[in-house]
């Protein structure tokens, strides 16, 4: 398989980032791990945004991924990271295949609200499940990888390297997806669904595929979140969590596969300092940031880097 220049850069950055993990302070390594996990969920949001759909319920698959990982550890005694993540993704794909049948009938605000409703139903179910710790959630067991158990204190760094590798792979795949016929068809649907239909293509089928794929990607993020934070709770499915994903997606924009990663990292850095410096009004800072982006950078931070070029091209 031949790699394009963009893909080479993505892989190169990943190698640098993973290497940087060995010299960076531990808190930064952890912050980046969490940011990358979130970025995966945001990728799911962005995939749907490219098709013109805004979901206020991507937390659903984030949560399913996380809980599948946590529950497999608890009830099935599975500790292998790869198996756990696969179970998480598999669970989300199954659910998405079912919900997708209904969801693909809806557009615009109705899609947003229905996705929110499903996410909140899962939240309600989890809150009711005292066996799963209700709102307190439960701790996720320590992971192993192909029989190897990371030494105490080394797990965060090891997980960081793994998530960087997965992110790089995901970035390459998503980059290809965004340029594939299916990916472009999503943009076409956003632009003009009737025309797509009259080209002989089924918009619902494309959206369905996209919905399921986005769910899988988001669940992967949820699984990583569970493994890195070591704890899961129903908050993952709460609509405010989903709102945050939309926030980060807008922050980065949909122009490039790297944008959600960069936006998620930036968001994590801004938020952690906002919480520390202005603990009483960090939400306000986030709000103003979001407004500023919508007003000045309607295509997200990415337009800072390419805006001029693209406009000139147009």
């Amino acid at each position: 398989m031949r790699l394009s220049k963009t893909e080479l850069i993505l892989l190169g950055v990943a190698v640098l980032l993973a290497a940087g993990g060995f010299i960076a302070p531990q808190w930064l390594v952890f912050l980046l791990t969490m940011a990358l996990a979130k970025a995966m969920v945001v990728q799911g949001v962005v995939m749907q945004m490219r098709a013109g759909l805004v979901t206020f319920g991507q937390g659903l698959f984030f949560c399913v991924g996380g809980y599948a990982v946590g529950m497999s550890g608890h009830f099935l005694d599975i500790t292998d990271l790869a198996v756990l993540l696969l179970i998480g993704v598999g669970a989300a794909v199954l659910l998405a295949m079912l919900l997708g049948l209904l969801m693909t009938r809806y557009r615009e605000i109705f899609f947003a609200m229905l996705s929110l409703a499903f996410s909140m139903i899962l939240y309600g179910v989890l809150v009711k499940s005292s066996a799963l710790g209700s709102t307190d959630g439960f701790n996720v067991k320590a992971w192993t990888l192909f029989g190897w158990t990371p030494a105490s204190g080394q797990a965060p760094l090891a997980l960081f390297v793994i998530i960087v590798a997965c992110s790089a792979l995901l970035a390459v795949l998503l980059h290809r997806y965004s340029r594939s016929s299916a990916g472009m068809m999503c943009e076409a649907i956003r632009e003009n669904e009737v025309r797509v239909e009259y080209l002989g293509q089924s918009p619902r089928w494309v959206l369905y595929m996209n919905y399921v794929a986005a769910a899988a990607v988001s669940a992967l993020g949820g699984g990583f979140m569970a493994l890195s934070a070591g704890h899961i709770d129903p908050e993952m499915a709460y609509w405010i969590t989903s709102g945050e994903f939309v926030f980060i997606a807008l922050l980065g924009g949909t122009a490039h596969v790297a944008a959600p990663f960069i936006a998620a990292i930036l968001f994590a850095v801004v938020r952690t300092y906002a919480i520390e410096l202005v603990p009483h009004s960090w939400q306000m800072i986030l709000g103003f940031t979001l407004l500023a982006i919508i007003v000045f950078l309607p295509k997200g931070l990415w337009s800072l880097f390419t805006g001029q070029a693209r406009r000139a091209k147009a």
Binding site: K5, F30, M34, T135, I275, E276, H280, F305, T306
Partner: protein, 440 residues
């Protein structure tokens, strides 16, 4: 635009990543300096519905106490400046945002802010998530409020994690014991809890305790409205039609105040006696909207139930002077956690002015007995990591002349009477009929 002629560096992706990398390395460079001060990370709710009733009094208590400690104003045995002679510096963090975020912020506190200890956490979920991280990082951590029974069941061999607040089971065992003394004839019991772990666990502990202590009383209704719902009309009707004698609720904060107001306005609290395990936190706000005789608790000997000792008088005076209102139980609990930490650090046997290492503090904290605003605290459970204290309940009484609420008919139960022993969970202990309980 001809892409192929661009050099690698001019590629927008490379440009973006370079920019992001620069920002990151800048942020990584910003680190707290080691300044010889004893740095404490305080984590409590600064936003959301828990901020008013819990977060703000807690943060205020920390400020009052730390200021007093840094000036050496506290009565003995806490008259030493700061902690072990080192000035205390506080970093306050908002607890809102869920457990995963709190784990991240906890790591930031320990690894970036280089705090010497973390005191905080109201939410049980947060405590559960933080405990293994604290153990992993070897960070001295004191939980001051969360009540989950799961904490030391999960963290089986705790080293750095301590809890100076009581297990939530204590609240409900205490409530049942109080009822058995003051309302032994009650026949019908109803409950209304917030629909989340706290409410579900509280109701479970309470009903099982009642089965043991008042076997004749039957549960006639159980309502679990959504947390922060605010409107309880339907729930109040549903409880009213069952005509209960006792209504148990573990509601807290705004929800509790709204429930009392609405239930009282509809006459429910005249026909039935309410038992509010967190009722004390609004004692200054009920005025005449709560009936006299309503049973309230303060989650331990805190707030209005705190004993009248020199330490508590000092704390109350300072708190009232600073914030024009008496400290409620969350404030007392925060003070207790910081005092426990100071006690341990100063008994860690390092020379004055030096900051002991976490392990040294932990060794001194384990099994310690220290004085607090709530009287003497024994770290007597979970192998010396969990505080054991008594609990008190009393009846609300409003004096229209002074427009002040107070508690009457206070009955205190000793720690040994309401706290499950090590090696058994609260629920097992309750179901077994409280074996080994020593009650006065």
């Amino acid at each position: 635009m001809n892409n192929s002629k661009k050099s690698m560096l001019k590629h927008p992706l490379a440009f973006a990543i370079t920019a992001a990398g620069l920002a990151l390395s800048l942020s990584a460079g910003v680190q707290a300096a080691e300044n010889g001060k004893f740095r404490i990370g305080i984590v409590t709710f600064l936003s959301g519905p828990a901020a008013g009733p819990f977060g703000e009094p807690s943060a205020n208590a920390a400020k009052v106490l730390v200021e007093g400690l840094n000036k050496g104003q506290l009565p003995a045995p806490y008259d030493k400046l700061g902690i072990n002679g080192a000035e205390i510096e506080v970093v306050i963090i908002d607890e809102a945002g869920g457990a995963a975020k709190q784990v991240e912020e906890f790591r930031n506190l320990v690894q970036r802010q280089k705090v010497d200890a973390v005191v905080g956490y109201i939410s049980s979920g947060d405590c559960l998530a933080i405990a293994p991280v604290a153990e992993e990082l070897g960070a001295m951590t004191v939980f001051y409020d969360c009540g989950t029974s799961q904490l030391f069941k999960e963290d089986k061999t705790p080293q750095y994690v301590f809890r100076t607040s009581l297990d939530a089971a204590v609240d409900n065992i205490g409530a049942a014991r109080y009822l058995a003394k003051v309302r032994p004839d009650a026949q019908k019991v109803a409950g209304i809890q917030q629909n989340y772990a706290w409410g579900q666990d509280s109701w479970n502990d309470f009903t099982h305790s009642m089965e043991q202590l008042m076997p004749k009383a039957k549960v006639v209704e159980s309502q679990m409205p959504k947390v922060f719902q605010g409107q309880y009309g339907a729930e109040i009707s549903a409880i009213s039609v069952k005509r209960p004698d006792i209504i148990h609720s573990s509601f807290w904060g705004g929800d509790m105040e709204a429930l009392v107001l609405q239930a009282n306005a509809r006459g429910l609290l005249e026909d039935a006696t309410a038992v509010l395990t967190c009722g004390e936190s609004a004692i200054d706000r009920y005025k005449d909207q709560a009936p006299n005789g309503m049973i309230i608790g303060g989650r331990g000997p805190f707030g209005a139930f705190a004993p009248d000792n020199e330490l508590n008088r000092w704390f109350k005076d300072k708190y009232v002077a600073a914030y024009k209102t008496a400290p409620t139980y969350p404030a007392s609990k925060m003070a207790q956690a910081i005092l426990g930490l100071k006690h341990a650090a100063e008994n860690a046997k390092v020379e004055s002015g030096k900051i002991p290492a976490p392990l040294e503090i932990a060794k001194a904290f384990k099994g310690a007995t220290f004085e607090s605003v709530s009287g003497t605290v024994q770290m007597a459970r979970a192998e010396g990591h969990q505080a054991m204290q008594g609990i008190a309940y009393g009846e609300y009484n409003y004096d229209p002349a002074s427009k002040k609420g107070s508690v009457q008919n206070v009955i205190a139960f000793a720690g040994e009477c309401v706290t499950p022993p090590d090696g058994t969970t609260a629920l097992e202990w309750i179901k077994a009929g409280f074996p080994g309980a020593q009650c006065n």
